[in-house]
Symmetry: C2
Subunit: 209 residues, 2 copies
DNA sequence: AATATTTATGACCAGCAGTCAACAAATAAC
DNA sequence: GTTATTTGTTGACTGCTGGTCATAAATATT
């Protein structure tokens, strides 16, 4: 009985080791530059063993992405809880997002990477759904803040909160991507985010025209 | 004398053929799924000949990207010229962007792809600079509209036009990417863009707080 | 016609993700 | 304690791809 449990623990541990090792490599060198042999060498297991846990390089990446989305989600929740006024909550949320970006630069490439390039078929459907769900959860978090703002009159009504949340989310992503594509100097990112935030907030104060 | 010119014309024609063929393939199947042998077979030249014109698969892609950015730029210029009021001009510009997206779905993946994944080193520095310049030109077009709006008082001052342009550009990109990642249903994209646009415009009416 | 130069070719190479038959270790059965 | 069975590990191997290069073909020059 406990043998089985131990085995399961070991398996789980091995899995975790592969994931954290791969994450470090991906973050350091980028997804494309890391080979499975690199990962295998780093975890000191053979390539075959890795494929015993994951069915493709992309799946490994997807699990890492999921982890990061969980972190982002927790940041957002914290942000929503910490603030009082709606503006403050939204500000916290943006800051949380930018903080995650700063702390995990390379990961953001991966975040965009999945939508744009990765061969989606190489990622199991269930995992893909899980990732979608996390993104939706992040959006819902934003949405909750917005709805609260509408209720308390800080934010003008007439715009579906879901749509506004997506707009804000898109804006954040878009601006960060500008920075990532070196269209914007790293230093100006905060300034740019602040401007975007200020415009959006000003626009949201009044009801939809 | 005219022999040389003919040769040059032929070379140019060959180049163009490779580019348009590759473009069709990329758009139909995506960058990753197209092999150089596919391209070679489609243009009915050997792979070696292709490498006589381009130094990497990425470079081919980059030239296509450049072409598309030129189209976008012309769309934006037209939009700015066509509108009267600032709001109308901005609206036209957004519509132009979304139109390009609708007409060249797959290309947008490529647009994001370059920033995120592509091994930049595989693209000659000069070409890379050219691409950067086109993007900046697009931003400048937006900026011009905004400055005009500030001058005529339709848009509140206090915000550097360059930054606002980047925010708008980022917002557009971000929202389109949401659609592309199937977070948003294709049908809702127009609605979402409209909401974003409305919020931004409302926010811009008043001077920076 | 002979020679030089330019251009096209496709067999070839290296690197990679992913496979699998053989093997080793742990566990179960007797 | 010995054998059978299950489970997990391995790394040589495959197939595919971007990219190269010696050779061949075409063209230009004399």
């Amino acid at each position: 009985m406990s043998v089985k449990q131990r085995k399961l623990r070991e398996l789980e541990a091995r899995r975790g080791l592969i994931l954290t090792t791969a994450k470090d490599l991906f973050i350091k060198n980028g997804f494309g530059a890391v080979t499975l042999d690199d990962i295998a060498a780093a975890v000191e297991f053979s390539k075959g063993t890795i494929y015993n846990h994951f069915c493709s390089k992309e799946e490994i990446y997807a699990w890492i992405l999921l982890e990061h989305l969980d972190i982002l989600l927790s940041y957002l929740r914290e942000a929503a809880r910490a603030g009082r006024a709606t503006a403050e909550k939204l500000g916290n949320a943006t800051k949380a997002y930018v903080r995650l970006y700063r702390e995990h630069r390379e990961y953001f490439k991966l975040l965009f990477f999945i939508d744009v390039v990765s061969d989606q078929d190489r990622i199991p459907e269930g995992l893909r759904r899980e990732i979608r769900h996390r993104k939706i959860a992040c959006l819902l978090e934003l949405q909750a803040i917005l709805k609260d703002g509408i209720r308390s009159g800080k934010i003008g009504g007439g715009r579906p909160a879901a749509q506004v949340a997506m707009v804000l989310w898109g804006m954040l992503n878009g601006i960060i991507q500008l920075a990532e594509s070196r269209q914007v100097h790293e230093n100006d990112l905060d300034r740019l985010i602040a401007v975007g935030f200020e415009i959006a907030l000003a626009g949201l104060k009044n009801p939809a025209s």
